[in-house]
């Protein structure tokens, strides 16, 4: 009870802090925030990414939306574990599982089976390179094949890499945005390469135009 309450309070404060630092606003470009089960897939540059998506979702949708996160980072003890497990009710993936693949993804498919929406980063890890988007991991395809009925909503998180660059631990306040695109569904005859290509293109299409100096 007390844990639930403090988790709710921490969740509200984290969302409030994200708003103060990033003024984050959603662009619902390809769909509307509907109360249906979805998998939000997004580019991943910072530990704050899932917080931004969670923050721009309407309250009713937040409760049913769980981030998929790494067990080794968000699943431990202490504050990080509290935030991962209690506050955001993360679906924790064991990246270092002895038999990676199907097993690591099973918890994710179970969570979808239990009715949760997901925040999922298909790059598999934070992108700290100069590349715009890392190659997407095939877990996304296996998830889509396991549940072809669930909408996959591409989302582009802009500017978060500047808020908290690699190696820095304090965020600098800069405006961020989350742009949601048109939902994807796995087509019956679509193979892995075609689907993964479509997901990648859908993500990149949402990226705001690059401003050079």
């Amino acid at each position: 009870m007390l844990t639930r309450l403090s988790a709710r309070l921490v969740a509200m404060s984290v969302a409030g802090l994200a708003r103060v630092l990033t003024g984050v606003l959603p662009n619902w470009r390809g769909c509307l925030p509907e109360a249906r089960q979805r998998v939000y897939i997004a580019n991943h540059t910072s530990h704050g990414d899932f917080v931004l998506i969670w923050t721009v979702l309407p309250h009713a949708l937040r409760r049913q939306t769980r981030p998929v996160a790494a067990l080794d980072y968000w699943g431990g003890g202490g504050m990080r574990g509290f935030i991962g497990r209690e506050v955001f009710n993360a679906v924790l993936i064991d990246r270092k599982a002895a038999a990676p693949g199907q097993d690591a993804l099973a918890v994710v498919i179970d969570a979808v089976g239990a009715g949760a929406s997901l925040i999922y980063f298909p790059e598999g890890t934070r992108n700290t390179t100069d590349e715009v988007l890392l190659p997407l991991k095939s877990g996304l395809y296996r998830l889509a094949r396991a549940r072809p009925d669930i909408e996959i909503v591409p989302a582009w998180i802009d500017n978060m890499a500047r808020v908290m660059p690699k190696g820095e631990f304090l965020p600098v306040p800069l405006l961020c945005s989350v742009t949601f695109g048109t939902p994807l569904l796995l087509q019956p005859d679509e193979d892995k390469a075609a689907f993964m290509g479509r997901a990648r293109d859908a993500l990149l299409a949402l990226k705001p135009e690059e401003r050079d100096r």
């Binding site: 304090l170 600098v172 306040p173 135009e209």
Partner: protein
């Protein structure tokens, strides 16, 4: 600090203007019917945002000096966040950026709070100017170094130093004006924002010839002349808020409105260069914080120093 009678009169007047503007906006909306006009929609969004902004300033005035300082410190934060978002930064700027946001803003407004004129007037142009490039250079990234550091310094000057001169008006000791310092803030903000609104109204009604087509598609000669002239008259009519005579108030209003107009042009030029129409989306109908503050930013330090030069012994 209790609210002077003049401030209550002014806020009642502003509320009256907003009631009228709301009525006109709703009437236009009804006349437009189903045919959605983006101009009318934007007008109503702007009017609604004005209600919120006048209410916020009203609350700040009720709190007094601390309220006004906090309000503009927050405005500086939002403005600097918009400004830096649109400039080119690199990882090596992280410490300098942290310093600008989390030391620059609080210290500047603290200095205004303790009324240390000798330091708040040089803290950013001298200490910030020299310390920031030092903090950035130790990170060793020389790519576009000058333009990176110059942008940050410019951002601090525009968004923090200049904006802080609005609450700094509360630190001026003008003989015979004790207990009424809030009114100077009210005068400056009302006249400059009034000039923006009047330029918009005259421009929409009579605007034909563009005054700076390369910088702003919406600014016209008709809007400029009509807006600045009427805002000067407005300033003269508000002389009772100030230690100025009506003629002096008109002159002050004219100078601040012209500064405000050119301030808008300067910040438009930066937006154009960065390829955006608005600084942000914070204020519905207006754009970002900087879109609303651009004119006051350029007017405030000049108004502050003219007042200080002539009226503070």
């Amino acid at each position: 600090m209790s609210l002077p009678q003049e401030a209550i009169t002014l806020f009642l007047g502003l509320a009256g203007v907003l009631v009228a503007a709301t009525a006109v906006g709703q009437a236009l909306k009804r006349r437009a019917g189903c045919a959605q006009s983006s101009t009318v929609e934007n007008l109503n969004a702007r009017v609604f945002a004005w209600w919120v902004m006048v209410a916020l300033i009203g609350v700040a005035f009720l709190v007094g000096k601390a309220g006004v300082i906090l309000l503009f410190a927050f405005a500086s934060f939002a403005a600097l966040r918009e400004f830096i978002t649109l400039t080119y930064t690199r990882r090596g700027d992280h410490w300098a950026l942290m310093l600008a946001f989390f030391v620059g803003i609080p210290v500047q407004y603290y200095l205004v709070w303790i009324e240390w004129y000798g330091l708040y007037s040089i803290f950013i142009p001298v200490y910030g100017f020299l310390i920031l490039p030092i903090v950035a250079v130790v990170r060793g990234d020389t790519t576009h170094f000058l333009s990176r550091i110059a942008s940050l310094q410019w951002g601090l000057m525009i968004c923090v130093f200049c904006v802080s001169h609005i609450p700094a008006l509360l630190t001026l000791d003008i003989p015979g004006f004790e207990g009424k310092k809030l009114l100077l803030v009210a005068f400056l903000v009302t006249v400059v924002q009034g000039s923006d609104v009047l330029q918009y109204v005259f421009g929409k009604l009579f605007g034909r010839r563009k005054v700076a087509p390369a910088l702003s598609p919406s600014k016209t000669w008709e809007g400029l002349v009509g807006g600045v002239a009427s805002a000067t008259v407005l300033g003269a009519g508000l002389w009772w808020l100030t230690p100025f005579s009506p003629a002096q108030a008109a002159a002050m209003a004219l100078v601040t409105c012209l500064m405000g107009f050119f301030g808008g042009l300067v910040l438009s030029a930066i937006k154009r260069d960065r390829g955006v129409k608005d600084w942000g989306r914070m204020i519905e109908g207006h754009g970002g914080m900087l879109d609303r503050l651009d004119s006051v930013i350029f007017a405030a330090p000049i108004f502050f120093h003219l007042t200080r030069f002539w009226y503070v012994p």
